[in-house]
C-alpha cells in the first residue's frame, strides 16, 4: 500500500481555491484506562422524568440499532481547540495575531493573568474586550483595530484577518456592538464533535465518610456574635424567642445538622441518571468547510487600498489558505494536548501516529488522503501567512494588549472583597 504523503502548502492552496469541498478527519478513540473502561459524558439538566441526563441517540450502524452518546459537543470542542492554539501560541510553536486583556498589572487581580480572544466566550466581540482600553486609555471599540473590526464583515474580512483570524475559524457575532443586531456575523468553518459508540449506561455511587468523625445528630446553631458563623455551644448561640436558632446556610442541606456546614457523613446514593458509560469506541469527526472560507472576501489590502483583478484573486486565495492552515493547526494541536474531556473521561487515539486528513473533492469521487503532524501544520501556518503578507495582507505581529478599564478592575476587586465576606448574592441583579 502506498504511503500516505504529508500535506503541503501547494495541495492546501489548490484545495482552498476550489478543488475540494471540505477537509475531514475522523479519529477513533478509546478510554485511557483501556477498552471497556467507564467514562463520563457531559450531563445536561433535563426535565424529570428522564432515563438519563446524557445526550444519547440510537443509530443504525450496518443495519443494527446501536446506542451512541455525545461525549464532547461542537461548542466544547471549539473551546478546546482554542485552548490548544493558545498553548501553542504562548509556547511560540505557532505565531498568529491574538488580542488579550492583561490583568497582570492590576492590583489584586494578577491571578487572572491575560484573557485572550481565544478564551473570551465571544472572541473579539466579547463584552470583556468592549470594557477594556488600550495604552492610551481609549476604549477598544474606539481604537483603530476596534473600529476596523466593527466595520468588518464576511464581505470585508481584512480587519478580522489582521487582528483575530481565529474568529474567522470559529465564527463570531457582534450582536451587542455598536450596530446591535445588525452586527457582523461570521459563520464558523470548523466543526468537531466526539461521540461514543456502543454506549451502555452505568450507575454512579456517591457517599462521603467524614474524617473528623462528627456525628450526624450533633446540633449546630448560629453564633450570637456573628450570625454567619456556627457553634455547637448553646451558650454562644443566637437566641430567638427563647430558643437557639439552628444553623442553616443558603443552598446547603440539613438545617441545624453538621451536614449544613459540610461535615458529617452523607448517606450513599446511587445516581442512575448520570452514572457513566462504557463504549465500544469513541469517534471524533472534524470538518473544515472550504465554501465557508471561500465566502470570506478581502476587497481592500492592509493599507485600505481597493484591490482588483489578479491582485485581488491572489490575495484572497492566500489569505483563505492561511486561515485554513491555522484551522488545521488547531486540529493537530488538540490532538497533541490530548482528549482529557472531564473528570474520569480521558480518551486516547486508537492508532498512534499523525493526524490523517481526507480532502473531499468538489466534483465528487474518492477523497485524497494526507497526513499532517503538528510540526508540519505549524510550517504551513508560517508559510501561508508569509505568502498572504507578500500579497498585501499581513498578520499583526505585535499582539494587541488591552487593559481592563479602571472602573472594571475596581469593580472586580470589590466583587472579590464582598464574596470573601459572604455578601455577594449571585442571584441578584439584572440578567
Amino acid at each position: 500500500m502506498a504511503k500516505t504523503s504529508e500535506l503541503t502548502l501547494d495541495v492546501l492552496e489548490r484545495a482552498v481555491a476550489g478543488e475540494s469541498a471540505a477537509i475531514r478527519c475522523v479519529t477513533r478513540l478509546q478510554p485511557a484506562g483501556g477498552k471497556g473502561d467507564k467514562i463520563f459524558p457531559p450531563t445536561y439538566g433535563v426535565d424529570k422524568p428522564d432515563p438519563t441526563r446524557y445526550a444519547f441517540e440510537r443509530r443504525q450502524i450496518d443495519g443494527h440499532p446501536i446506542e451512541t452518546v455525545l461525549l464532547d459537543s461542537v461548542a466544547s470542542q471549539a473551546n478546546r481547540m482554542e485552548e490548544a492554539l493558545f498553548a501553542a501560541w504562548s509556547e511560540e510553536r505557532l505565531s498568529f495575531p491574538v488580542i488579550s486583556v492583561d490583568f497582570s498589572g492590576e492590583e489584586g487581580l494578577a491571578d487572572l493573568d491575560r484573557i485572550t480572544t481565544l478564551h473570551a466566550p465571544h472572541r473579539i466581540a466579547d463584552a470583556l474586550l468592549r470594557d477594556s482600553v488600550d495604552g492610551e486609555g481609549r476604549r477598544f471599540r474606539d481604537t483603530e483595530p476596534g473600529r476596523a473590526y466593527t466595520d468588518s464583515s464576511a464581505k470585508n474580512a481584512a480587519a478580522l484577518y489582521r487582528y483575530c483570524p481565529t474568529a474567522l475559524i470559529f465564527g463570531v457575532w457582534d450582536s451587542t456592538g455598536p450596530r446591535g443586531g445588525l452586527g457582523n456575523k461570521i459563520q464558523r468553518c470548523l466543526v468537531s464533535e466526539i461521540v461514543g459508540v456502543g454506549a451502555v449506561f452505568g450507575s454512579k455511587t456517591s457517599s462521603r465518610i467524614d474524617p473528623t468523625g462528627i456525628q450526624a445528630n450533633v446540633p449546630i446553631f448560629h453564633r450570637k456574635s456573628d450570625h454567619d458563623d456556627w457553634t455547637t455551644d448553646e451558650s454562644e448561640a443566637w437566641v430567638e424567642k427563647g430558643k437557639a436558632v439552628p444553623f442553616s446556610r443558603k443552598g446547603a442541606e440539613g438545617k441545624g445538622k453538621p451536614s449544613s456546614i459540610n461535615h458529617s457523613n452523607i448517606k450513599p446514593t446511587i445516581d442512575v441518571t448520570a452514572g457513566g458509560v462504557t463504549i465500544d469506541y469513541a469517534i471524533q469527526t472534524t470538518v473544515l468547510s472550504l465554501p465557508a472560507l471561500r465566502r470570506l472576501r478581502f476587497p481592500l489590502d492592509e493599507d485600505g487600498e481597493p484591490l482588483v483583478g489578479e491582485r485581488r484573486v491572489a490575495l484572497e486565495r492566500s489569505a483563505r489558505t492561511a486561515v485554513a492552515a491555522l484551522a488545521l493547526a488547531a486540529i493537530t494541536e488538540l490532538r497533541t494536548t490530548g482528549f482529557d474531556l472531564r473528570s474520569r473521561s480521558l480518551l486516547i487515539p486508537e492508532q498512534a501516529g499523525p493526524l490523517v486528513l481526507d480532502l473531499i473533492p468538489a466534483e465528487g469521487g474518492e477523497p485524497a488522503t494526507y497526513t499532517l503532524s503538528s510540526d508540519q501544520a505549524a510550517k504551513l501556518v508560517a508559510e501561508a501567512s508569509r505568502h498572504a503578507g507578500k500579497s498585501g495582507l499581513r498578520w499583526e505581529r505585535e499582539p494587541l494588549t488591552l487593559k481592563p478599564a479602571p472602573k472594571l478592575s475596581a469593580l472586580i476587586r470589590e466583587s472579590r472583597k464582598r464574596a470573601a465576606v459572604g455578601e455577594v448574592d449571585d442571584t441578584e441583579g439584572g440578567n
Binding site: E57, A127, A154, G181, S289, G364
Partner: protein
Amino acid sequence: MYALRIEYLTGRCVATSYNDRNRAEWPPHPARVFSALVASWADSDSPDDERAALDWLAEQPPPSIVASDASRRHVVPHFVPVNDTTVLSDFRPVVRKLDELLIAYEVLENESLGAVARGDQKQASSKQRALSKLSMQIEKQRASLKARQAEDLAPLAKPSASAVVNASRLLADGRTRQSRTFPSVSPHDPVTYLVWSALPAVGIRKALDSLARRVVRVGHSSSLVACRFVDTAPQPTLVPRNDGTEVLRVAALGQVQRLVDAHSRHLEVEPRVLPGAFQRYGPPHTRSVRSPTASVFSNEWIVLRQSAGPHLSTPLTVEVTQALRDAMMSHADQPPAEVLSGHQENGERSVTPHMAVMALPFVEHPRASGTILGLAIVPPRSASDEQRLAILRALGHWEQSARDRSQGKGDTEAPSLQLRLGSRGVIELERIVWGFSSLVNLQAETWCRPARRWISVTPVALDRNPGNLHASDPHVAEEAWKSAAEVIAAGCESIGLPRPVRVEVLPSVTMAGVAKARAFLPFPADARKTRRVKVHAYLEFGEPVIGPVIVGAGRYYGLGLFRPISDGWAKA
C-alpha cells in the same frame, strides 16, 4: 431531471423543526434548502443571472426527495454564555447627536459659500455668525463627551451592588448562560437529493450549480454540507402527493423576493420563521390511490391571531365568531355578497356553502388552556374567484380603516384589527401574513390533515332535537343518544363527507383544553329562536377524510369543530 445532491459532511443534520423548537427537522424541507441557495446568492454580489436561476427554480413544482431515515439525538438544553453584560455606559446617543451637529455645520458652511458666491453680503455675514456659534457648540459638546467618557472609565466612588455583580459576570466563569436547544439527527445515509423533473437551460444550469457549490450549511451553522447539482439521482423516497401524510415547506412563486423582504425585517436575528408554502408528501406508489374526500369547507384559510386583549375561552366561541362576521359584513361592499352573509338576495337562507368563521383554541397539548388563540375565516372549497374576492375585499377594507386609524404606526402589512365584544372588552387581531404561524393550533394543517378519526373540540349544535339525553328512564335516554348520533352522521353527509362508520356521542371530552358542552353559551344567542342541544362527539370514517370537519347547526360559527386524531391517539 435535475437534482441537487446534498452531503451532510459531519454526518449530522442540525436543523430545528419550523413548528417545534425541541424537534429536529428531517428530511430537509425544500424551502430550507432553497433558502440556503438564496443565502449563497446574497453573500456574493447578488448577480442577476443567479437571481433569475433562483426565480426559475421557485417556479418549478415542488421537488421529490431522496432521503434515508435518521436517528434522532435526545434533545438537551445547552447553556450558552451571553454577551450583553457591561460596566461602561453607552455613549452612542451622545455621539449620534454630535454627528448631527457636524452635518448641520457642513450644510451651513455650504450655504455660507453659496451666499458669498452670489455676492449676498447680508446673508453671508448672517451665515458666518451662525457658523461660529455652531462651531463653539460643537467644541463644547466634544469636550464634554471626552470628559464624560474619561469619567466613565474611572473607578466608582461608591459602587452599587448591581455594578459589582455585572463586573463579576464579565469574567467567563461568572457569565450568565442562556438555555438553547440544538435538535439534530444523524441520517443513515448522509447524502440526500432534491429532484426536479424539469431540465433548465444552460445559463440557468451554470448559475444553479455555482450557487450550490457555495452553500456552507443547511440548518444550524454546525450543519455543514457539500452541495452540487447532478443529472442522476436514486429513486425518490418522498414525492409530492395530495393525500400524503407528511407536510413539508416548499418554495413558492416569488420566494426570492419574499426572503429578501423578510431578511430586511429580521436581519438574521433569531428566532425567525421562513416564508414558504405547504406541500404534502408521501412515499411514491406505483398504483394510483383515490384521493380522500374533503369537506365543503376550504383548507385555505385566512388566520387572524389574537395579539392583545383579554384571554377568551372556547365557550365564548359563538360570541367571538359572530362579532367577526358582523365586522366583515360591515366592511364589505354593500350589500354584502351571499358568500359572506349566508343569505340570498331575496332574504332566504343560502343553499350553497358560504363563509364560515372559526375560533381556534389551544387544545391537545398536556398544558392546554382552552384559550382562543385566533380566528379563521374559512371560504367554501368550491368558492368562485368572485366569492373569494368578496371575502378578501371585506377584510381589505377593514385593514385599511385600521391602517388609517393608526396613521401609519405599527405593522402596516397586517395592522391590528379591533373586535369589540360588548362587556367582555376589546380584542385585537392580526392577520398571519407569512404562510403559517408557529402556533400549531393556528395552522390550517392541524385541523385539515387527512384522518379517519376525529374528535370534537367545540360541541355540535344538533339540527334536530334528539330527545331527552338526560332522561331518568334509561330507555328514553338511550334512544335520545342514538338519535343524536344519527343527526351528527347526517350532518357529516351534508358537509360533503361520507357517512361515518361510527359516531359516539360523548358526555364530555377527554382532550386537554376542551370545555364541556354545557359550559358553552346557548346557541343561537337570540332567545326567540329554538335553542339547540349541544353534544361532544367522536367520529370514525371508513377512509381518511380531509378537513376542516365542522358539523351541525352552528358550523358557520365554529360550533361542531372537530380535530383529527391519529390512529395511535389514546384518550387520556
